[in-house]
Symmetry: C2
Subunit: 173 residues, 2 copies
């Protein structure tokens, strides 16, 4: 499989759309629509008592209040996924972590979108004294009792957050 052509058909504030053309080993060709995306990170941040989650409006899917892991887009030039996760943990829930570990990396929807998400585990948590949440983002911080992970998984409708919580639950059993 080889990409033999690409044209941008739409440029938007978050995602752009390309039509790419591919050739295959058997000599045939096909066109595919690709939604571009810089990639993202999500963080499974927990201590003995709580998994630290957020609730936020997700207008794109008509949900005023979706339960998710802290997360963010790789939208700072030159920043690694780990650096992005460390920054987002501070910005979204006002915490830093002593230990970081990559849990999993995957495509959210490889049939049509480039987005790749890396999920990190963050432990050894410490509160940042002067944390000021970004009012624009309308994010509510939720300290979820870690002994009730099953209920968080039931309530969650976001793919990256489900993957992080399912891996955490498996590790704790």
């Amino acid at each position: 499989m080889k990409r033999i052509g690409s044209r941008t058909v739409y440029e938007g504030p978050i995602a752009s759309v390309r039509i790419d053309e591919f050739s295959y080993d058997d000599g045939t060709t096909a066109e595919r629509q690709v939604v571009s995306h810089p990639g993202a990170v999500a963080i499974v941040a927990y201590d003995e008592l709580h998994l630290h989650l957020v609730r936020q409006p997700r207008e794109a899917v008509g949900e005023p209040d979706l339960l998710e892991l802290p997360a963010g887009k790789l939208d700072v030039e030159g920043e690694s996924p780990l650096e992005c996760a460390q920054r987002e943990l501070g910005e979204e829930i006002g915490m830093r972590a002593a230990e970081w570990r990559e849990l999993k990396s995957f495509y959210t929807s490889p049939g049509f979108a480039e987005e790749r998400v890396t999920v990190f585990e963050a432990t050894g948590l410490e509160r940042i004294a002067d944390h000021r949440p970004d009012a624009e983002e309308r994010i509510e911080i939720v300290a979820w009792p870690i002994d009730d992970l099953d209920a968080a998984i039931d309530a969650c409708e976001d793919s990256k957050s489900l993957i992080g919580m399912l891996i955490l639950r498996a590790a704790r059993r």
Copy 2:
């Protein structure tokens, strides 16, 4: 949160793009880019020995060979998610199932795309005698030893497939 405006800025073969405008209870407004999508299904189909997976090229993300659950888009008018899953199980891997159960439903990337995926469990499997795979789709069927689910989860980089396999693994422990 209320949608107060919407305009389509791009129409494509799989996904279209809208700019929607929202108002919030505090009187402020915001614009959001939304990638439209009809939604999809994925199927955790297994018997005593095997979990039935597929490998296929995913051009959008530059992967010639991604390991996934059988899956498909809700692109037939009036078809329910369950009916779509039953059709896709036949088309993609040539099987029908006696028992169907919904495992989980979620958004793949709620920050910018509408896509919602429903994952079903399919058991009581039976081969369809006259199955002819769609050559256009370049799908390879993989009978993965179910006792080695950990290796499938390690090898998988697709969000819906990871969620289905992580739920299956938890149920089997």
